[in-house]
């Protein structure tokens, strides 16, 4: 706990630099993943997190050691933000032995017990009750931990979300439901999916408090996360954060994104980019010079390149791996 706290001191400059670095790592990593996908090194589905970086970075900045997280298939950002090794993530994307799941999970299915990352789930909304279950275990075991259960605006219409809301509040489970509202469930906009004016307010039907958060502003996300965590740790049960965000890329690599205009995306990038706004804060506040930021960019690029190299060099899993991990040894 202490180690992670000292890495994120409550000093404005250091904090801004920390956010900048973390968000940039996700962006550069995802750009590289997109590139490797284009080269045929990554197969199947690959859902990029570009544009949404402030959500996980802000919330992870509020979390403490031992807190848990679980999310959907758009999971690369969550894994990087909770400290999983970029090499292991990229090597999983390329389906190699050095990947977090030894190449058997892929982009959508990765886990890390060490970092308390419980997946990586490919079925829309399945992670929501699982997140509540992790919180159930913490409460049962008397751990003072909270769980972040991330899901999108699309998943927010699944029935199991509301089954989970009901039980989470009934049993006062320490779970934060994070709705990452990037405004499109694959190609269907929120407006075409529901007449609910907001998604977080649906929690009111179960007695769960919540709020809408500007997901393009990492500081606001962090502040909201701290408030939600305090609510959970005080034993008051679950909390909902509807984080308004935007994905710049298609739903997956194979999505041409014809359901929105190029202008809409460009406007978001120009006016609301979460990384650019922290960059401006650093520069205008004279916390960092262009040179300083350039050297951070260079560092990040090196980390990502190293991950990409590792993901190419790591061998494919041995054929025997086909038959392992189906059952745990009794």
């Amino acid at each position: 706990m202490a180690a992670k706290k000292s890495a994120k001191p409550n000093v404005s400059k250091d904090e801004l630099l920390y956010h900048y670095r973390e968000m940039l790592l996700i962006r550069r990593f995802e750009e590289k993943a997109g590139q490797l996908y284009g080269m045929g090194l990554i197969g199947g589905f690959c859902h990029l997190y570009i544009g949404q970086e402030a959500v996980v970075v802000g919330l992870e900045a509020a979390a403490e050691e031992g807190d848990k997280r679980v999310t959907s298939y758009r999971d690369h950002g969550h894994m990087l933000a909770c400290g999983m090794d970029p090499k292991g993530i990229m090597a999983e994307l390329t389906g190699r032995e050095g990947g977090f799941s030894k190449g058997k999970g892929g982009s959508m299915h990765m886990f890390s017990k060490e970092k308390h990352f419980y997946g990586g789930h490919g079925i829309v909304a399945a992670q929501v009750p699982i997140g509540a279950g992790l919180a159930f275990a913490d409460k049962y075991l008397g751990n003072d931990r909270v769980t972040f259960a991330y899901f999108g605006d699309g998943a927010a219409n699944q029935g199991q979300v509301y089954e989970t809301y009901n039980m989470a509040e009934l049993w006062d489970l320490p779970v934060i439901f994070v709705i990452e509202n990037n405004q499109y469930a694959m190609g269907t906009s929120v407006k075409r999916s529901t007449k609910s004016p907001s998604l977080w307010e649906r929690g009111a039907a179960y007695g769960i408090p919540g709020e809408e958060v500007d997901g393009m502003d990492v500081l606001k996300v962090k502040a909201a996360g701290e408030k939600a965590i305090a609510h959970c740790r005080a034993g008051k049960g679950p909390y909902i954060l509807e984080v308004m965000t935007y994905r710049y890329r298609g739903h997956s690599m194979s999505d041409p994104a014809k359901y929105r205009t190029r202008d809409e995306v460009q406007k978001m990038r120009d006016e609301r980019d979460p990384i650019e706004s922290v960059r401006q804060m650093l520069l205008t506040g004279k916390h960092a010079s262009e040179e300083d930021l350039k050297s951070i960019d260079k560092e990040i690029k090196a980390i990502v390149n190293e991950a990409a190299e590792f993901s190419k060099e790591s061998p494919e899993p041995a054929l025997e791996e086909l038959w392992t991990d189906i059952y745990a040894e009794a």
Partner: protein, 459 residues
């Protein structure tokens, strides 16, 4: 005219019960809706209300009587002014038949058409130490004891499901657990199978060992995504980092007269999935030993029980810590002419058929698979090599059934040992009807098993 009051059936599977207490006296005026008596089924104590009006003439069954058969007369209701002595003697005689607990259903054994030397069946004793004491226990009690013992051993084991706590279990399997372990570990859920199955999967990732009770496995279809996509697949998808050590249990298959949506055997469905273990016990002993193993197993286990078997009694060893390993079939009786392979309630037909076949001089070996994943292929092949003929018995649908799989396995691995095609006795390829006569025909039966055995033995 005197009216007989009959022992009521208070659940779809109730065959007999205890008349715990009369709440009226002889000579009382009875009005419709009055509570006449308390009747205990094996699941619950129920109040029994009057339908007809009159004067309580005579109790035929005294309070405290056990094993009173459904539909046997328990009292006589008189019309105003009628005399109790008017009750015909024949009615009183019916009581004696009803009174002894566990008496047969009264049907005389059919004489064997061909007198043949009866075959000595050699029951194969299960793996318990020499001199182990046994006690009679119902499947229901055995399951409860298994859970209680494992909950005492391991603080992380807990039970969740609909009506498992305060109601003491919809089928009374969890009776007494709330009292012993408290509301933290015996948890009533709302009716929300998908949600609580998912919460239990998450809890298992988080270090607990959940037992999820489905009121019946029919309702588990609401939760099947969590069972298969989350519980069964995570160990593999995580490269062995984390899995779901948990048990999904509850009654499976047909009960009695509950129609298509409540009468399905899921043995073949779950056995299809790598990552799941699947258990379907027949006896109380196996129910106990296998459930304890299931709770300790680090993988998700589907534990398929049967409502009709819950109330049936078997010998259960009196041992402090009795477990049965997965993947080990039990030979219930040895035989030389044919092997009948079954599991769960199918064993009832298999054993009855073997008894009747023995009277006709056909020696059937009866193999209870007990676990369907892992399956004891070694025991199957060994028995095929011995008898060269096989009939499988299960209640599930015929297409892609366990019997189909076993047949294919035998064909591939023991083709040269077969003297006849393997026959599968299954439920019919129809949905479960409600009408009693149709339901009976939709299920497999002892007669069908006997016919199948005669076909494969060319008799």
């Amino acid at each position: 005219m005197a009216t007989e009051i009959l022992m009521p059936a208070l659940s779809p599977t109730m065959e007999e019960g205890t008349l715990a207490k009369w709440l009226v006296k002889e000579g009382d005026t009875i009005t419709s809706g009055m509570i006449l008596a308390e009747i205990e089924t094996d699941k619950a104590t129920m109040e029994f209300e009057a339908v007809d009006e009159g004067v309580m003439g005579k109790f035929i069954v005294a309070e405290g009587s056990e094993g009173v058969k459904v539909n046997s007369p328990i009292a006589v209701l008189l019309e105003e002014g009628e005399d109790a002595s008017a009750v015909p003697a024949a009615q009183a005689a019916a009581v004696e038949e009803a009174a002894p607990a566990g008496s047969s259903d009264g049907s005389a054994p059919a004489p064997a058409s061909v007198p043949a030397a009866p075959i000595e069946s050699k029951a194969v004793e299960p793996d318990v130490p020499e001199g182990t004491e046994f006690k009679q226990q119902t499947v229901r009690e055995a399951l409860r004891d298994a859970m209680a013992e494992e909950m005492r051993n391991d603080e992380t084991v807990y039970l969740m499901g609909e009506e498992v706590a305060e109601y003491q279990g919809a089928y009374k399997v969890s009776q007494g657990l709330l009292d012993e372990f408290g509301a933290k570990r015996v948890i009533d859920t709302p009716i929300t199978e998908h949600g609580f199955a998912g919460i239990a999967v998450g809890a298992s990732f988080g270090g607990l060992r959940p037992i999820v009770e489905f009121m019946t496995f029919n309702f588990a279809m609401q939760a099947i995504d969590q069972i298969i996509n989350s519980a069964a697949k995570t160990l593999y998808m995580s490269g062995g980092q984390m899995g779901a050590p948990m048990v999904f249990r509850g009654p499976n298959g047909a009960a009695a007269r509950v129609g298509a949506q409540h009468s399905q055997d899921y043995a073949a469905w779950y056995s299809h999935i790598p990552g799941l273990k699947v258990v379907q016990p027949y006896s109380a002993m196996d129910a106990k030993g296998l459930l304890k193993t299931a709770i300790r197993d680090p993988n998700p286990v589907i534990f398929l029980e049967n409502e009709i078997l819950y109330g049936q009694s078997f010998d259960v060893p009196v041992l402090d810590d009795f477990t049965i390993p997965f993947g080990k079939a039990r030979i219930w009786r040895e035989g030389s002419d044919v092997t009948i392979i079954s599991f769960g309630i199918g064993m009832k037909y298999a054993l009855e058929a073997a008894d009747k076949l023995a009277e006709e001089g056909i020696s059937a070996e009866v193999l209870d698979l007990r676990t369907l994943r892992p399956i004891d292929y070694g025991a199957i092949i060994a028995s095929v090599q011995k008898t060269n003929r096989v009939v499988t018995v299960e209640e599930g649908f015929p297409v892609a059934s366990m019997g189909n799989h076993i047949s294919a396995y035998i064909m591939t691995h023991a083709f040269d040992y077969l003297d006849a095609p393997v026959l599968n006795c299954t439920g019919k390829d129809v949905l479960m009807p409600y009408a009693a006569n149709l339901e009976k025909h939709a299920l497999t039966s002892t007669a069908e098993v006997i016919d199948a055995v005669k076909q494969v033995t060319y008799r």
